[in-house]
Symmetry: C2
Subunit: 349 residues, 2 copies
Amino acid sequence: MRATIRDVARLAGVSAMTVSRVINGQPRVSDEKRRRVEAAVAELGYIPNGLARGLIRRKTKTIGVIVPDIANPFFTLVVRGAEDVAWRAGYHVILCNTQTDLERERGHVDDMLAFRVDGVLIAPVSDRSAPFLRALTKNQLPFVLIDRSITGFHGDLVQGDSVAGARVLVDHLIGLGHRRIAMISEPTDVSTARDRVRGYQEALEAAGIELRPELIAESSAIHPEMARDATLRLLDLPEPPTAIFALNNIAAVGVAEAARERGLTIPDDLGLVCFDDIEHAARLDPFLTVLAQPAETFGTVAMQLLLDRLAGNVSERGRTVVLPGELIVRASAAAPAPVRLSASRRSAS
Amino acid sequence: MRATIRDVARLAGVSAMTVSRVINGQPRVSDEKRRRVEAAVAELGYIPNGLARGLIRRKTKTIGVIVPDIANPFFTLVVRGAEDVAWRAGYHVILCNTQTDLERERGHVDDMLAFRVDGVLIAPVSDRSAPFLRALTKNQLPFVLIDRSITGFHGDLVQGDSVAGARVLVDHLIGLGHRRIAMISEPTDVSTARDRVRGYQEALEAAGIELRPELIAESSAIHPEMARDATLRLLDLPEPPTAIFALNNIAAVGVAEAARERGLTIPDDLGLVCFDDIEHAARLDPFLTVLAQPAETFGTVAMQLLLDRLAGNVSERGRTVVLPGELIVRASAAAPAPVRLSASRRSAS
DNA sequence: GTACTTGATGATAGCGATACCATTACTTCA
DNA sequence: TGAAGTAATGGTATCGCTATCATCAAGTAC
């Protein structure tokens, strides 16, 4: 079996308490015993049991990070940023992927409570996640929301400005001359979706463009196939859009697939803009015009807020950090074709 | 404070043991007490303390997953696959990102040992990770290697066929007519780098093409900037390559950047192939010719091997699973220009 | 009626650490 | 000289749970 603190104590000829003092770098230990203990630790390859420690200290130096889709480059970077800050502060990260599934989210939150993580970073599935946040609060487990707010909840939050970002993107399309602009959205129990729809609507209104409900397609932020299907439906409208605003990068990927299937060229036949960059794709070929959000900073800032709170040097109730996005104009949106022909359907891909 | 099993027992008017039996679904409890306990659990919002459980059961239902770069789409998918299988089996995953830093890897391995995870999936930084594997073995912590083997180590392993894959990619370039083919590699204390260099060399030899050492540039598998710099150096050679084989997707991104900087068009002025797909980029614009590896399957299979071992229904010592890759021919490699002009240097980007 | 199951329940003893207090041996200073 | 502080060290209780064994009532067999 693995060595315990008592094995070390026996080998070093001291008490368990002295070993504990040595491995925790406390004073009040003679140099000689310290050396003997260190030798015994090395000889046995002793590693303190984190479970036992956590049980009595009521601290585990562990942070749970719960995200809806780790394969989304946005969240990948969030996680990397969070992990990095945590590591530097001597914490480690338990990563939980919910796949936007509420039941999985419930399970993960319960696990975080059970394993006594010291805090949680969570990008909740939707407003229906509210009960889980309540469970965290009730159990006094500090947490910080990332990317998405929850109606009626007031706590630490790091988010982008979705309303403004959406306006910028749609204004950009309008500025290029587009008037028939569609949006690929997701269910509006997600705050970012709500906000981006609002930004979209505000931009159209400000430009005096009539809102057409049929141009807002509800899709998914994690399954490109659904965005593809939604796009195909939009393209089948009697008056198809000349440009599409996808609520995020994943949806944009689906739009591009749909366009390719229909033999439409982006940006000539269809303009495309979206939230969130796809780092590797952008470097490979700077094509997509996006509202880039500083994903990694979402993670670092959120983790920092959490660690501050754990350190106890925070008094405010709900701190909100809004990180600015940046419009990066690349090639996926241009002026619409001067004479709009009905798109040739079902052309070979 | 949070409710303990004794609080529940008191409220239900039973002993702690009876509560334990109920929450663990054991028999030997009368229906009436079971109901009373369940009511008390619900009323108090009781969640069993995982640390205390783990301490006595010597199981935590937790698996550590250690990868060199979570932002690499390959590893992102590995993690997603692993997490998915783990979740279904009632395990959760602690994600550790080493950034290919040996010290961070050491720290994470120690943490896994300290927190008594039940097993570990690890894509080691390099052969220099061997001591950490020895520590795992010594402490009887089961683990499975992913993607990379370690010289002299014999245990469970899930990997691709890097030699064959590299041959396929380089053969593809040769088949297109390329003779001067460079490779962006990384230090050869990583098994995949070794194997891919070997596949590259074998392909050239088989085609009777002379090996030029200066055409193998050592770079990085996680920093595209380094691959970019390496590519610029290759392009500055007296006789620059007509095509480049990048050892992975990240390196390929750097190659593309370099080409763009030099005003070279891919594939017309420079062919490019690499290992590992970039899912979102491929969907957005099917451009890169790659040897795609089933990344998510790496994760699911590795986790399955590990869980099998934990369940005790495995006898073999070192099981190796080799997952086949698939050449996906897209647009980044074509026949070289019939008349090879010396590449115009320092042209505007 | 005795002996032996069987089921339901609880008391007790840890798991491997650390918090907290007690003890010992010296100093230090009025 | 004696009160009092201080450094080094160890003993004991405890974190919250479960393994194990003991207990007791009720049923079963002979």
